[in-house]
């Protein structure tokens, strides 16, 4: 039993320890010049131990130490009301809502476009290059235009952000679902032919169930990049709320602690979203009687 637990815990603990060691040494290495400079200007005596402690507890470090980020998270997550504009929970929710709406829109659009491509042969040739090209344009170049154009017609806040998230999210969905809808074996299709099934029946009774195992891995990628899209959409638009806004204002004012704690929250959010999609995948395949 103890052996089993050790077997599960040891690798994770080792990696965490290695990250902590690297992070602390990096923080020390990057922050100590400023600390030395400070000592020199103040003309004060210093010891090696003091240098280490001070370098790891600066107000605006080049690279904040892990305990500083945790402290900042405690102040902005636990010690303020979630509705306060100083709360990271509030900002995370602003980004999350845009992510979820964008993910939903992107998934719906991706499935629709995949269905069209599979059923209309000419669309495969004519549409696919545009879909691929759409993803080669840096999202940072498109985001401001989308925000400005939509702002001109009175759409601000959630909608432009989620459209940018959807712009990124639809791509893996479309590619995955096209592959999935084309995955039925010839024999399975021949069988439908012998029953004289309509295209609609072939779609719902064969193609769509065949595509489900392809849909979920695509959704895992899509939900993660929808989050990236929502954050990026907050950067060039001077958004006042959201994780992207925190990153931006943090970099304006040299608040590295604020940047890093926003990054950590974004990473946790991405991890949770991907896990939820993974769980939904397991449950769905189980309900469909498919072996894992």
């Amino acid at each position: 039993m103890i052996g089993r637990i050790a077997y599960l815990v040891m690798p994770v603990a080792t990696v965490l320890l290695a990250i902590a060691v690297l992070w602390y040494s990096g923080a020390l290495w990057l922050n100590h010049p400023f600390q030395l400079d400070t000592y020199e200007r103040a003309d004060s005596e210093w010891t090696a131990g003091q240098l280490v402690v001070d370098s790891l507890n600066q107000d605006r470090p080049v690279l904040p130490a892990p305990h500083q980020v945790l402290g900042e998270l405690q102040r902005t997550v636990l010690e303020v009301s979630p509705t306060s504009r100083r709360s990271l929970v509030y900002h995370a929710w602003v980004t999350l809502s845009a992510t979820l709406l964008g993910f939903a829109l992107g998934t719906a659009f991706g499935i629709a476009i995949a269905t069209a491509i599979v059923h209309v042969p000419s669309l495969d040739k004519s549409l696919m290059p545009w879909i691929v090209a759409s993803q080669t344009i840096p999202i940072l170049a498109i985001a401001p235009m989308v925000v400005v154009v939509l702002g001109a017609v009175g759409l601000t806040g959630l909608v432009p952000k989620s459209l940018i998230a959807a712009y990124l999210a639809f791509f893996p969905i479309a590619v995955g679902v096209v592959k999935g809808l084309r995955s039925p074996e010839v024999m399975h299709l021949d069988l439908m032919h012998t029953y004289d099934a309509t295209r609609t029946q072939v779609f719902w009774k064969l193609r769509w169930p065949s595509a489900v195992p392809f849909l979920f891995p695509a959704m895992r990628v899509a939900v993660a990049i929808a989050l990236v899209g929502a954050i990026v959409a907050e950067l060039p638009t001077g958004a006042s709320a959201g994780l992207g806004a925190r990153l931006l204002s943090g970099s304006y004012f040299g608040q590295t602690l604020q940047i890093w704690s926003a990054l950590v929250v974004a990473a946790i959010l991405a991890g949770v979203l991907v896990s939820i999609v993974g769980g939904a995948n397991r449950l769905t395949l189980q309900a469909m009687g498919m072996r894992r």
């Binding site: 004289d196 009687g289 498919m290």
Partner: protein, 278 residues
């Protein structure tokens, strides 16, 4: 859509309509596939007529066109020459009227459907009401001795059981004609023997017309009323052997002189057509 009607079993002699035309008529059929290596003559000038309640096996080496001929009858391939009729109409029309059930080489069950839902698939497509679907699923699973497995998924069954589900699926809408493409080819010999017995019994009871593709001589002779021996390159009919064995067949039959004599004639036919030149 034509919902199939359950027909009462009746002896052949009272079926006046059937006497006028064979269930399957193949007249001068050729099929050439255009491939990258040039044209392949899969079928050349094939003539065959199959009457009601017959069990006809197509036997021959790989590439002799036996599967292609079955697919032509099922409207899964189009012949390049000749005329095919199924129930007196062109194959496409027969297919739209759901005149036949097709059993593939592999069970081709949908993995996300339970056994019962797989058997119900053609019934759903043909738009039968739920109550009748359930009744037919139960009846046909009973016919292939799979009662009690309704809620299992395909991967939970052995290969032989999966193929029996696919036979139940082909029978579920009660077609008069069953087209079977090496249905037991992937199974081991013991399972195959048992399924041959069950299939013979099933054919004997339901009096369907069956066209059966195989490359096993004992299987063909054991099951059939006639064995069609085909040769390859180009695929054509070499010989047609009548199996006038007793209607009640057990596996022991395969040891009798009568059985062996027929099997011998089929083997001679295959050899004479240079089907199995090493």
């Amino acid at each position: 859509m034509h919902a199939p009607v359950a027909r009462p079993q009746e002896p052949a002699t009272t079926d006046d309509g059937a006497a006028q035309h064979p269930v399957i008529g193949v007249d001068g059929v050729s099929l050439t596939f255009e491939t990258a290596d040039g044209p392949v003559r899969a079928l050349l000038d094939v003539d065959l007529a199959i009457d009601r309640h017959e069990f006809v096996s197509l036997i021959g080496p790989s590439g002799c066109g036996k599967t292609t001929l079955l697919r032509v009858i099922a409207d899964l391939e189009q012949p390049t020459a000749g005329v095919v009729t199924v129930e007196g109409v062109p194959p496409a029309e027969a297919r739209r009227a759901r005149a036949y059930g097709y059993v593939f080489q592999s069970p081709a069950l949908y993995p996300w459907r339970s056994v019962a839902a797989n058997v119900a698939l053609p019934l759903e497509i043909m738009g039968l009401p739920t109550a009748e679907r359930q009744e037919r699923v139960a009846r046909n699973l009973d016919l292939v001795n799979l009662t009690g497995f309704e809620r299992k998924f395909p991967w939970q069954l052995s290969g032989g059981m999966q193929q029996r589900v696919s036979i139940a699926r082909a029978l579920s809408f009660d077609p008069d004609l069953l087209l079977m493409d090496e249905p037991f080819g992937a199974l081991d010999e013991i399972v195959r023997d048992r399924l041959n017995l069950q299939l013979h019994d099933l054919w004997h009871r339901t009096k369907k017309t069956v066209v059966f593709v195989t490359h096993s001589i004992p299987e063909a002779v054991f099951l059939s009323t006639r064995v069609v021996v085909m040769s390859a390159r180009p695929g054509r009919i070499h010989d047609v052997v009548t199996c006038d064995l007793p209607a009640e067949r057990t596996l022991d039959l395969r040891e009798t002189p009568e059985f062996l004599a027929i099997a011998r004639r089929v083997r001679d036919g295959l050899e004479a057509s240079h089907a199995y030149e090493a």
